[in-house]
Amino acid sequence: MTRPPAHRPRVGSRTRLLAALLAAGLIAAACGSGSGNGGGGGGGGGGSTSGPTGVVNISDEYGSSWTCQFNPYNSSDVAFGFGPVYEELVYVDGLQSGKATPWLASAFAWSNGNKTLTFTIRSGVKWSDGVAFSAKDVLYSFDLLKKYPALDLNSDWSVLSSVTMKGTNEIVANFKTAAVPYFYYIADETPIVPEHIWSKIKNPVTYLDPHPVGTGAFLMTNCTGQNIQYTANPHYWQPGEPHIKTVNFPAYLSNTPANNDLKTGQDQWGSQFIPSIKSFYIDANPRYFHYYFIPVANVSIFPNLTNPLLAIPAVRQAISYAIDRKRVSQIGEYGYEPPANQTGIVTPTYASWYDSGLAGQYGNAYAYDPHKAVSTLEAAGFTKVNGVFQKNGKPLAFTIINNGGYSDWVAAVDVIKSDLAAVGIEVTPDNLSQTTWNTDVLEGHFELAYDAETGGPGPYYEMRQWLYSPNSAPIGQSASSNWERYRSSTVDQLIDQYAATTSTSVQHQVIDSLEKVMLSQVPVIPVTEEVDWYQYDTEHLAGWVTPGNVYAAPAQYTAPDWGVVLLHLRATS
């Protein structure tokens, strides 16, 4: 089989979230101690005094019907509750380089050489069942993750040494070593749950949580296999929020009905991959239908560095030169995913980190140059025999494994194959089922693999996923990231250095060094930049994320950002 009728060329989405949670990432500098006032992300000016109105329907195909489980510590269910129902301590906007907005914590501060993080917990917040929220709930949540590692999706406790309560409203988190980048995972990615409910649950790991009680702007009021309905929480702690009354989240088993519902206007907020989006979607209602795809990470070719031919840098360099990334982007991804570059820095999202001088030294970050590819191989002693380069009788012929269910990835790899064939490297695509491909990638059973890491609020996170050797594992064992099995103690040290600092200049230095590694050693070959799929309908709703105003990651499948988006939305008619 293995060609699931290609449903959702799901570029990451849920697996993106999953992998993000599994990876031990670190955080971008939270700019030292920030202390803000209450009332974080409420958009839309003064709240309307007439109460929330309007409906927004979401179109995001998951390929399955709803199970109506909302346990935020379960990787399959977290995206449904975390955001609108469950909330975080501090909201970090990954697309604005980690801009922090205090949320359930009204203030936070680093101390003790960036090894201690103190949160001041907001007062006046209530759980949706009326019980008061307090620092005790925060303490309880972290203790829960410590007691049940299966719930610790972000591996918070791999860097925490203790979490204690100070006074009545302060939570002090102590780290084993300076772990500044971890702020993102501790503060933004850890949902807080109510102690008075969860302490009575016998086994939180299998707890289904069908009627979630949270502090968020919305209540989960109705759930069937086909639709989840959220309604505005009248006692939400941000005054005047939310502006929207009802949110519907229907379940779609395949892409076509999800896309059709966007096209007919029945759904207003899409997180869909839509082929030929202009003629399919925009043209149906050009005045009000919009889309905006924000690049967030790279889709890359992962060469298995234990393979003797692929261990030769010249081979990897040649591959990078030989691929016409523009064409891959055009043909495989309809142009939605911009071409990537060999530094691995996602542009324009993280353009401020891109070292153009360095890139210039390497053919403008390995811009498409088939002649260079050929000359690189020839310089390394390869000769062309019957149209394929070889050395010592070993031809450059590889298989590349791919997720057969992502039709856009299948098309992209097809273009890669023809590009590489043109320079004399033979590549055979192996389109596998999602599960098989995933296992093979994690366990290193491949020669070349086409996949994407999840990244984070800055280029550091993806680099760490690619290059940090503790993330990797021997062939045959499951590696959470660094699937190409790259090992370098120098690089490991650089990565640790970044983690320990809050100085932006040190951070930039480290990233530049990592870019140099990407350019000179080519351990991973980025091809296109993965985007957040996002469509929006402005006919009856305002407050959307727009190109000039990226206040949150706009895809439904990114938590807790989608809760922030819902807070900004308001009905205009």
Partner: protein, 328 residues
């Protein structure tokens, strides 16, 4: 009686074959699906893993024979486990029960309609041999009955849904605006969503009925007793209904009961194109997501449905046609 017993025996043998298929096929394939499942779903508890191992093999704890018997035990107690990907944690039985009514409704009704209409048209066409109807219909329907179902469905969607916007192109009802219940609104919504898929199945399947009936009637018409009836001076209408029709319909009737079984499997593609939440659609989604427990349960359900129809068909045949009883 012997006849019925023989058929029941056949039923049992076929069920055994189907269940054994389900058991052996995953074990013959390369790879270890249980390991893949574990990697993909780290939250699967040990109980679920064990259930999967019984289903798919790969666990080294039990002998093959032991697993086989355990599998049979599960099947006979309707223990089909939980869905793994389509709706993690939901019992397969409940999911199947949700989907079954939609398929039975859509495809059952259409098949009955196709049978009635097709038989009638076939009868008339054969009666009026040489007429325009008769010379035009058979070639047309030979051609249409070799059309792929899903292609007709695509055409229907394109013309009636996308271009004209008359009818919806997917789903069984609009679940954002409707809740299931005995209201006219709901019923109307359901009918609206069912119209295109139903017409698709009707167009593609009616040809077979027409041709079969027509050919049966032609054969019967040349039988001696029909000639006798005509010679006796009976009115054409009476001959057609009383003699030709009744005898010609016999093979059609057995075919009809038989077709009820094909109802479930033949509409898989139609459901897929229309995203109609029936058994066929669920099977394809289960296959895409490699939801093995759901997949196997659906396959067994479909086989059982077909077998029951065959059994019913044979019993009906035995009742109506004394000749078959003697073959016992």
């Amino acid at each position: 009686m012997r006849f019925v017993l023989r058929r029941l025996g056949f039923f049992v043998v076929t069920m055994w074959a189907a269940v054994s298929f389900n058991f052996f096929i995953p074990r013959l394939m390369p790879g270890n699906p249980v390991l893949a499942m574990e990697a993909q779903h780290p939250h699967l508890g040990p109980q679920a893993i064990h259930a999967l191992t019984i289903l798919l093999g790969g666990g080294g704890h039990q002998s093959l024979l032991g697993q086989y018997f355990q599998y049979w035990g599960h099947v006979l107690t309707f223990n089909f486990g939980i869905s793994i990907t389509t709706s993690f944690g939901t019992s397969v039985n409940s999911m199947v029960m949700h989907a079954l009514p939609w398929t039975l409704g859509l495809v059952g009704v259409t098949t009955v309609l196709a049978f009635i209409l097709g038989t009638f048209i076939g009868l008339v066409s054969a009666w009026r041999r040489g007429s325009l109807l008769d010379s035009a219909l058979p070639p047309i329907f030979v051609i249409t009955s070799s059309f792929p179902y899903f292609w007709i469905a695509l055409l229907a969607i394109y013309f009636f849904s996308i271009r004209l916007g008359w009818l919806p192109s997917s789903g069984a009802y609009n679940f954002l605006n409707d809740t299931p219940g005995a209201t006219w609104h709901y019923v109307g919504d359901v009918l609206q969503h069912a119209l295109l898929p139903a017409v698709t199945i009707l167009i593609t399947s009616i040809g077979g009925w027409i041709l079969t009936m027509r050919n049966n009637v032609i054969t019967v018409l040349s039988e001696d007793y029909v000639r006798m009836a005509r010679a006796k001076g009976l009115s054409p209408w009476k001959v057609m209904w009383g003699y030709a029709g009744k005898n010609a319909i016999l093979p059609n009737l057995t075919g009809f009961a038989m077709s009820l079984g094909f109802v479930v499997s033949g509409a898989i593609l139609v459901e897929y194109v229309f995203n109609y939440p029936g058994v066929g659609y669920m099977l394809l989604n289960a296959v895409n997501g490699l939801d093995y427990p759901l997949m196997q349960a659906l396959f067994l359900l479909i086989t059982v449905a077909v077998l029951l129809s065959v059994l019913a068909a044979d019993i009906v045949t035995a009742i109506l046609d004394p000749r078959t009883r003697e073959l016992g």
